[in-house]
Amino acid sequence: MAVAVRLPTILRPDAGGQAVVSAEGTTVGEVFADLVRQYPALSGKVVTTGGELHKFVNVYVNDDDVRYLDKLESKVIDTDEVSILPAVAGG
């Protein structure tokens, strides 16, 4: 099952300049593993080598931050969009 993955400006050069790419998987973790298979330059940038989400990355399934769902185990279906955004300050 393929889902759309929206990349932040800063990661687009690692995916041939694309803003939205397609990746296979039924969980966020599987989708990211497939993303790295397609674009090896993304390795370690969203998911660390230790298998955790990068500290300064927020990942959403549609509008929900996966840290408050089931993290990398969060389920996705093919109508979902996974977005990766940098963590930045507000206030």
């Binding site: 300064f56 990355v57 509008d63 963590a87 930045v88 206030g91």
Partner: protein, 315 residues
């Protein structure tokens, strides 16, 4: 009528308004805490007072001293109000892409504005303030992102007010900036009733952070980490500018004029109300409409307003 001797005493004790007319679910009541009623016009008046008074108690701030802080606007305005009332000089590092009214209010209160690059958002403003504070140890730097008096203002003020006015609350929804509101109110409410859920809403980090050179330049407020923010929050939702502005217009339909981040909070509250069977959702309106009149949010074409909002810091 109560009488007061300082404008600072008017901070807090904001009204809670029932706006259940906007609820998509007849089983869910919807209430909004109107922080625009603070004298400086936003929720940040609370932390400005709290941080300044804590520093006075600790002996690190004395009248006549210079205060330096970075802010996308509201904290700067709150500090400017408190500084003016208490006799401090204030310098605010302000990203250049904030609404004109924020700049005007700071100038009116007598604060000195130091501009930081808009492409770096609040992150860039923090960096400039940190450098200036390091170069001038004689200045006092509240550093709202790491100051325990920030969540404390909400733990001792906003949270107890909400609980007193609405003990039947089941869900609290607010915007995530420094995280102080969510941490302070969230902790207080969960101590009263552990079943209360705390939902955060944040704007998408879009064009505003294109100045980032790598993801390692990201930022998490130290108070969020120190106060166990990741364990405290139950959900976090990203809400874009278009739906936020639509929500601002819906609030105007019931007579509530508020800032764009409040529109985002309403979107979060409506999603919450739609997901649950029954409950009482309280969301926080961080500020009123006055600082956003120049954005045309209520009257201009929605596409044009949305496009402008993409390039303006409103959280």
């Amino acid at each position: 009528m109560a009488r007061y001797t300082s404008i600072v005493e008017l901070i807090g004790e904001t009204p809670l308004l029932d706006v259940s007319a906007l609820s998509p679910n007849p089983g869910v009541a919807l209430l909004v805490k109107l922080e625009g009623h603070n004298p400086g016009g936003s929720v940040k008046d609370r932390i400005a007072r709290s941080m300044v008074e804590a520093a006075e108690r600790d002996g690190v701030l004395a009248p006549g001293q210079v205060i330096i802080e970075s802010s996308s606007g509201n904290t700067g305005i709150g500090l400017a109000l408190v500084a003016r009332a208490k006799g401090y000089k204030l310098k605010v590092v302000l990203p250049e892409n904030v609404s004109i009214e924020r700049r005007q209010l700071l100038e009116i209160y007598g604060a000195e504005i130091i501009s930081s690059p808009g492409s770096e958002g609040s992150n860039g403003a923090v960096k400039v303030a940190q450098k200036l504070a390091a170069d001038h140890p004689e200045w006092w730097y509240p550093y709202q992102y790491a100051n325990a008096a920030n969540p404390d203002a909400h733990y001792t003020g906003t949270g107890p007010e909400i609980w007193r006015d609405c003990p039947e609350i089941t869900h609290f929804v607010a915007g995530l900036g420094t995280s102080g509101t969510l941490l302070g109110v969230g902790r207080y409410l969960k101590e009263q009733n552990p079943a209360v859920q705390v939902w955060a809403v944040e704007p998408p980090a879009g064009e505003m952070v294109d100045g980032l050179k790598s993801l390692d330049e990201g930022y998490i407020p130290p108070i969020f980490i120190d106060h166990g923010g990741a364990d405290l929050l139950d959900r976090k939702k990203v809400v874009g500018p278009r739906v936020s502005i639509e929500a601002v217009r819906r609030l105007a339909d019931v007579g509530v004029l508020c800032g764009i981040s409040t529109g985002a909070a309403l979107v979060g509250a409506l999603k919450c109300a739609a997901e649950i069977e029954s409950g009482v959702v309280v969301f926080l309106a961080a500020d009123g409409a006055w600082k956003y009149l120049s954005t045309g949010a209520w009257t201009d074409d929605l596409d044009e307003v949305t496009e402008r909002a993409r390039h303006t810091l409103y959280f």
